[in-house]
């Protein structure tokens, strides 16, 4: 019980730490381009990002995957740049570039020496409007994406399972679609689909510029006015109104078997409220709830109850919450039973723990510990300016404001025990949930091929361009 001894002392120390976010500057150009600048002068590096408020949830029906496909095609050239020249130019500056797509956003970024920002902006501005696509480039890149789907999804039972579960969770909202697209629809995507999507959504008044690193807001503003300022806005941007969910009346259950599954598990995902502009209290409570219930592999409620002792039911448990989305978040629970415990018994044990938690309430020491860690994470986070930039980009493309981002640490600290319990009572509604069993042998439902579970903490799957790349001292990939 040493933690009891530790707690008061540590508390006293940490209370002294200010709960505050990093300093940022923001401005908006007359054409509607919003900009956020995060200063970090420790290293002569800058990350330049262009985020578009469009993603897989904005695709026309039947065109799943077009947002991600376009993201790939954005490297194929303009009037002034040959296909591949964009990345080659970044490399020639010693920089790296890439892009990623999610349901609510598509983003492009370069990481370069701070004095190369001017060139990055010139090129990014060029391809905001000037993309040129040849039929051949489109056809070849479609093959690349089909290989990407093979690699990320079709070769991995957990990924296929996740795709099926998501399609079951959302009855009507396009969050039910896989970002990469359904295979048969990817196969039919063509050049005009890509260009139509591009012309509809890629515009300065639908974009957010984020620059982080060794720069000043004044420099960024001057460069942005030069390169992005002349681009005319799109007057008739479609409103971001997606089909919404009807009331969920009954829980859904899936069971999938695949011979490639080594470790069966149960995962349940509930619909949950997302972070909302000016109203993040419930999302903050859900964040704390996920931490307390299953955020820590040793001391969380689920871990303590299910993973320890001779009668342990689980090899692994977790709870997660993702509220970074424009229209809906989700909350989830996972249990990986120990050998000899069935999925049915594992699920029952998990449910029993949750039921007991709803009756017993929050352990005060764990509650304080979680909030202390959330507070400290604001300090650690500042070491990685690229991650900070991504946080702003995600927030601003999912309906939040800079003030919401800056207010998030305080919102987390304001959460009370009662808030956590109220959030739990509200979110753990089986009618708005999907429970999935992934297993090796056929025991009931399901056939087909396999998928992979959403990573617990940061489930908004982003899809990068470049393959895994190891780094660190030359050739030190061991």
């Amino acid at each position: 019980m040493l933690q009891r001894l530790f707690a008061p002392m540590v508390l006293a120390i940490l209370v002294a730490l200010p709960v505050r976010a990093e300093d940022v500057a923001r401005f908006t150009l007359p054409n509607g381009l919003e900009a956020v600048v995060i200063e970090d002068h420790r290293a002569p590096v800058v990350v330049h990002m262009m985020w578009y408020r469009t993603g897989a949830a904005d695709e026309p029906p039947g065109k799943s995957g077009i947002a991600h496909f376009l993201e790939h095609l954005m490297f194929k050239g303009t009037d002034t740049m040959a296909p591949g020249e964009f990345s080659a130019t970044v490399e020639a500056q010693g920089g790296d570039d890439n892009a990623f797509t999610s349901w609510d956003y598509t983003a492009y970024f370069q990481r370069v020496a701070a004095d190369r920002l001017d060139l990055m902006m010139r090129m990014e501005a060029d391809r905001m409007r000037g993309l040129i696509l040849s039929e051949q480039d489109v056809a070849t890149e479609r093959d690349v994406i089909l290989e990407e789907r093979n690699q990320r999804t079709d070769s991995d039972p957990g990924s296929l399972f996740g795709e099926q579960r998501r399609a079951a969770l959302y009855l009507n909202h396009p969050y039910r679609l896989p970002i990469i697209g359904w295979r048969h629809e990817i196969e039919a995507l063509n050049r005009s689909d890509a260009l139509e999507f591009y012309q509809t959504f890629y515009a300065p008044n639908n974009a957010i510029l984020i620059v982080a690193g060794d720069v000043t807001p004044e420099e960024v503003r001057a460069l942005a006015e030069t390169h992005y300022g002349p681009i005319a806005p799109t007057p008739d941007l479609p409103p971001r109104i997606r089909p919404s969910e009807p009331p969920h009346l009954v829980e859904r259950r899936l069971a999938m078997a695949d011979p490639r599954v080594a470790q069966p598990y149960v995962i349940r995902t509930y619909l949950a409220p997302q972070r909302r502009a000016g109203d993040q209290a419930e999302a903050a409570a859900l964040t704390v709830l996920a931490e307390i219930l299953g955020g820590n592999g040793t001391t969380s409620v689920m871990a303590r109850a299910l993973q320890f002792g001779a009668e342990a039911k689980a090899l692994y448990t977790a709870a997660f919450y993702d509220g970074n989305a424009l229209d809906s978040g989700n909350f989830g629970l996972i249990i990986v039973p120990v050998p000899g415990v069935s999925l049915e018994d594992g699920e029952a044990a998990m449910d029993a723990v949750v039921t007991r938690f709803l009756e017993d309430g929050v352990d005060k020491a764990e509650f304080e510990r979680v909030k202390r860690q959330l507070r400290a994470s604001e300090i650690y986070r500042r070491d990685d300016v690229e991650q900070l930039a991504r946080g702003y980009g995600t927030a601003l493309t999912t309906g939040l404001t800079v003030a919401d981002v800056q207010g998030w640490p305080a919102a987390l600290q304001a959460v009370t025990v009662d808030d956590v319990m109220a959030a739990a009572q509200s979110v753990l509604d089986r009618r708005a949930s999907v429970t999935g069993w992934l297993m090796q042998e056929e025991t009931g439902t399901g056939d087909a091929e396999p998928p992979s579970p959403a990573p617990a903490v940061d489930p908004a799957p982003v899809q990068g361009e470049v393959p895994m790349k190891t780094d660190q001292g030359e050739g030190a990939q061991k």
């Binding site: 540590v10 010693g94 070849t140 093979n150 080594a262 320890f308 050998p339 990685d384 061991k478």
Partner: protein
Amino acid sequence: MIHLRLFPMQRIAARLAPAGLMFAGFLALALPAQAEIAIQQVTSPNGHKAWLVEDPTIPFTALELRFRGGTSLDPTDQRGVVNLMTALLEEGSGDLDAQGFAAARDDLAARFGFDAGQDVISVSAQFLTENRDEAVALLRQALVEPRFDAEAVERVRAQVLSNIDSDQRDPNAIAGETFARLAFGMHPYGASGQGSRDSVAALSQADLIAAHQAALARDRVYVAASGDISAEELGAVLDRLLSDLPATGAPLPGRAEWKMTGGVTVVDYPSPQSVIRFGHSGIKRDDPDFIPAFVLNEIVGGGRFSARLMTEVRDRRGLTYGIYSYLSPLDHAELYIGQFATSNASVEEAIGILRAEWAKAAAGVTEAELEAVKTYLTGAYPLRFDGNGPIARILVGMQMDGLPVEYVTDRNAMVAAVTLEDVARVARGLIRPADLHFVVVGQPEGMEPTQP
């Protein structure tokens, strides 16, 4: 704690903090792109050494410890013991059981990570300036006084066994393990450091205690820190953490003889796509030609879009999402390997392209390619030093590689000095198309399984 393979859980970054006292060599190094990084060489009162970059901007320290040896120290009949031992360091020590330790760590908001690799045990820690002493005391307890309680051993053993099962059904893991077995046979490099189901099941508490004594010793430790800590403070941290570890550990294994010849091995695996691992032996890190070899590979198989393999296999033909190769100089062997995945129908074509590219690379590169890659590499190098975490990891890696602190400033000149003749000379010895071996995991069309 072991994270199950299924779930890409949050990687807990870890780093350690060292300190120095008696002797703090101070070297201000100007990185090419106007960055300046001051690396202090710290020696503690008790004689422990570390490298430090002090930066008080953010009130925490990133500390990295490396113990040379890693899973290669496993006794032949105890494969997996170092891995299991390392995973148990945070599962109870001193007067704390596993839950007590986790609660104490989280009360301090400290972050610890423990990882066993083929050649090294990595201990990473991040802790706040506010409670540095308490965090270091807790970390010391994990390193010096692990309990290996029966409950924790069984619990973590079950997690390791689950990961072993997962790897046996994961095409990437199958490709890696098959390649390693063919290349190194019975040497520790020839099998997974996790061990096998049987070997892990047989490990005893006594085995774990012995592995701890063998692996975490002062004669093989390297330390680097970056962040809000002075040389003097780091010296105190070093003495606190390291003084109670054994002076010497187990001897390192001998050279791993390269047993693989050119060819193709197909492992049947039900999937629309095959994973292909390929390569042959490589070059030592301390070879005078290592830098030209590194430059050559960056042109041929670097992760950039403009590398030759990326251009030919992905960009021109759409046969893969990504393809890369890299030099892997281990302590007891050197590999030159790469990997990609492609549809079963395309495996033969892709391997043909790769063979052709390898043959082409054996003849060297063009002036334009060399200049472009030199510009990239020299421009990218200073961008790596962009945070306490990255800096501490780079500094400890340099020590493991036997590099001096001046490498930080000299490295770009070494890259810039590489000539076409250097690359051609190195390519002749390093790139050997006839020796290429391909391990294909999948159901490639037109190729028969050669491996059960």
